[in-house]
Symmetry: C2
Amino acid sequence: MAQKRTTISDIAHAAGVSLMTVSRAINNRDGINKETRIRILKIAEQLGYRPSQLARGLVTHKSATLGLVMPDVANPFFAHIARGAEEIAYQHNYNLFLINTNEDSKREKDALNSLLEKEIDGVVLCSSRLSQEEMITFLELLPAAVLVNREIKLPNSRVSTLNVDDSSGTESCLDYLIIKGRKNIALLAGPRFSVSGQRRLAGYQSGLRKHNLPIIPDHIEICSPTIQGGHEAALRLFQRCPYVDAIIAFNDLAAVGVLRACQQTGRRIPEDVAVIGSDDIPLAALTSPSLTTLHVDLNAIGETAMRTLIRLIDSPEEKTEKIVIQPQLLLRQSA
Amino acid sequence: MAQKRTTISDIAHAAGVSLMTVSRAINNRDGINKETRIRILKIAEQLGYRPSQLARGLVTHKSATLGLVMPDVANPFFAHIARGAEEIAYQHNYNLFLINTNEDSKREKDALNSLLEKEIDGVVLCSSRLSQEEMITFLELLPAAVLVNREIKLPNSRVSTLNVDDSSGTESCLDYLIIKGRKNIALLAGPRFSVSGQRRLAGYQSGLRKHNLPIIPDHIEICSPTIQGGHEAALRLFQRCPYVDAIIAFNDLAAVGVLRACQQTGRRIPEDVAVIGSDDIPLAALTSPSLTTLHVDLNAIGETAMRTLIRLIDSPEEKTEKIVIQPQLLLRQSA
DNA sequence: TTGTACGCGTTATCAT
DNA sequence: ATGATAACGCGTACAA
């Protein structure tokens, strides 16, 4: 068996003082003699005392615990966000629950419920698949939350949002491709219900309008945010519109799939087809040809989201924030 | 403010029964009338009751919480392990704390201490950088633990281990390269204190001995487990021993660095230099040339480690396990 | 400066 | 089948 816990009561006995004095010593609160504090801390040390966060949380209603909910840590996009978020949480003495939702809204609800039972102090929720209504229900219950890549009419002051401006990012891709003389620019718009997918689509449409170009539905293709998804979508696209000379992919993974589809169908990149990804995951620099992409500092997203969350928790008066991050077109070989 | 919690006391009042009856109903324990249970559960539902895992854990000394400690989730190797581990934890109704140690042993100790305070039920510890002594101290305190890629004289029955057989894996690389006629096979051995690095080295040495080949210290190079680390190490190697015609890299990331170093120094792959990686991260299939590597099912490592941990927790009588996973040489273009 | 008594939400023990 | 009461470990009024 694991050893039995030493409690403040044990320390109190050993030191010949009351529980209260021990508590004050440990929590560094004043109203206690400096020498007795030192003596008590020494005894605590000797006894290998560790405060029970369970007991502590039960009375303070703070668990020093946060949640990070995302579709899939194995996706490099989210892996780097997780990295950044955990880093900041660690710096602020929080522990972080990691939850993969697998893009499944039932699982996401399960996750949020379990976090609620754990009485976490706050959540960073990435790319939520919850309906607006479900979302609000949970936000009502959560002490604090930061939504990443998800819009919402903020129901209260305990919720902030952080979004990548996919719309303007997509527009800048379009600008670039048009300047380079591309005539038939297609879009792999991502999963049907993806918020950032919808924003990409919006940017694509407004960009085309800006250049007085027609919006051709056949040039828009739904795809999974994976290599395979991009691959399949590109093949469908090439079959339907063989003349396409540029593709803006939902993300870098999909873009890699596009690369493969091009090679497979004998298209040269970028001569025959220009390809632009998004997010600038490490892989983007390593493909051949290397990927032109919308660079986003993924670690910074995680860090910023976590800092925003902690700000929300520490200073409840602080107003809610709507943070927007601008991606930057990073030119490599594929476009 | 977040809404106030509804407690079993609230339910008891509403139902006109005692706390105990509510508790029995909620925990599905017997000694309670079927109808009253249903009635109570309905009321609990209406009141939006969520059991406090803090309070529950305080008395049961079980938190339904596990820890996952690893160097870096952003490293695809660990990202996939995290994915697999979280999947299984979810299936068994556990939440998972994610902790990045950044290869820093102080941080690892911090992590373990914080988990201890949270009274987690168990830990999966990946590639620990702790000294044998420190390790044992913590294992003594933890209710259960699974060590991934770390050997240890098991101090008690609450610890299992899961190791990839890097040694025999490296030997099979060597066998293959020698059969293919490679004469000067170098090893990028990974970080100095890495356990799997030491095993790679052992396999490299025993493999050479087996073939009656000399062990040449100059052919062994320390490296960080990153693209950059592999790149730099390969350049050092080429400078010292330009004649090297094969490199076994510590992992796939380092192997990608080697690829780059070869291109940079005008070496053709695999004609001039054969390159073999390890782990088969998704990137390995996407480089050009694609990477020949030691395939390991990374998700399965995470899943198996987590299943082993939960087994340890659920059935304390169960004996400790020492699980070994055999990597398989997967031939692609680089060797 | 130090201590007493109670509450946090839940489960466990022992009655009834 | 149900309930009263005592833990679990700690923080916090309030008192001394």
